[in-house]
Symmetry: D2
Subunit: 135 residues, 4 copies
């Protein structure tokens, strides 16, 4: 996702009051977590033990939806809707936290859940950091 | 969206502790608002006065993203992730409220903004009602 | 989705060379199929026989993604990108057809698959009709 | 997007008949192009010359929708729906090509369009390469 910072810096709006690095990190984490959760849901579906992974699959899909939406919101800077951005970041943070807890339960048996838990924890932290920065 | 209730009732999970009507109404409102906001953003873009509608277009796009994500989350009932669903509903409610306020400013000049504000207010209310029901 | 036609008619661009009804029907079918496929995937996941429904769940998720994207594309009319719209309609039509074939296999055992197959067939037809109209 | 290859390799399905690198490259290109097009649409909206960028903004939004959908489809490997995947890749390739042509027209005046055209061309090529590999 090497273009994220370029796109922030070439936007016509000024970035003086913006923590560009925190914003770029959070956008990258959202897109990465969306991809990883989508792939983890599909890997869970293919496992012999799929019946033990129902909750994991569900949380993966919800987390992917919220990460995708939040990644797109954060990619916009025209206009002003701080309350919406904050609520989206909070929803994304909660979804990542719940999905991470579930994936971590299966991390010893399913490597894709271990990798996915990592992506969720990183995105959870990136959302928390950005919320603090804009709060 | 006549299939929404059918899909809830044919789901293998029981619906005893579920307000089926409130859930179905909120899913319908989310999808309708996502479509309307996407169309309103495009209509704003085509207006001669597009430079006065920048904020409206931005809020429309953010609202569409969150309504789409929330509509998909609410369409799932397997597993358990109440905190994520509540946070998504709250984010969707806030986005609809902010978008409605903006669209209402332009409702006298642009009929598409008037229609869109209605869809946003209905979805805002449906999210609030569902949050109360599951709270 | 009662707002769809209102949003087409209140768009600043003229509709003289546009089959408004076919467009509105296709947008409605895309959003309905996206919702139904998302719900069917989740219902399949909750079934005791989930291991027999893996392919159905996968096709449901892919179909939901393409219906969502196509529903959003069709909600825009500013600018000009006919080749993209045609290719999206074709991808959506193919996804609906493949998902319908799979859901129909399970329609006798799972009512949600029967309802979902109907939504897929309706959307497949609506995409084909719109492709003919704009071809 | 360092997790993409890990998620392919830890999936329970075998990868013998799969060009893992081409698949991973295409997934990464889809997510990057989705983010870049979303950001370019927003940057176009903030420009003084937004009235000259209407078509660019529209194509950006359509391209983002199809790249998002295709990136999610390609992240799944359970089950079998080759026709849908091929049609999605073709729609994504066409959208990227049309968006690249438009962004290239503005590349001299708007650096964000130059960066976005690059992301579109890379994704167009990645889709074409993957289509050849699975054809």
């Amino acid at each position: 996702m090497s273009h994220i910072t370029s796109m922030i810096e070439t936007h016509p709006n000024i970035t003086t009051d913006l923590d560009v690095q925190k914003l770029a990190d959070c956008i990258a984490a959202c897109f990465e977590c969306a991809q990883t959760c989508t792939a983890c849901a599909d890997a869970c579906l293919a496992e012999d033990a799929v019946t033990d992974l129902r909750n994991c699959l569900r949380l993966n899909l919800d987390c992917a939806d919220l990460c995708t939406a939040t990644g797109h919101l954060l990619s916009r800077r025209t206009g002003s809707n701080l309350a919406t951005v904050q609520a989206a970041l909070e929803a994304c943070r909660v979804a990542c936290a719940e999905c991470a807890v579930e994936c971590e339960k299966h991390a010893d048996h399913h490597e894709h859940c271990r990798v996915c838990a990592e992506a969720c924890r990183r995105c959870e932290q990136a959302c928390a950091d950005l919320l603090s920065a804009i709060g």
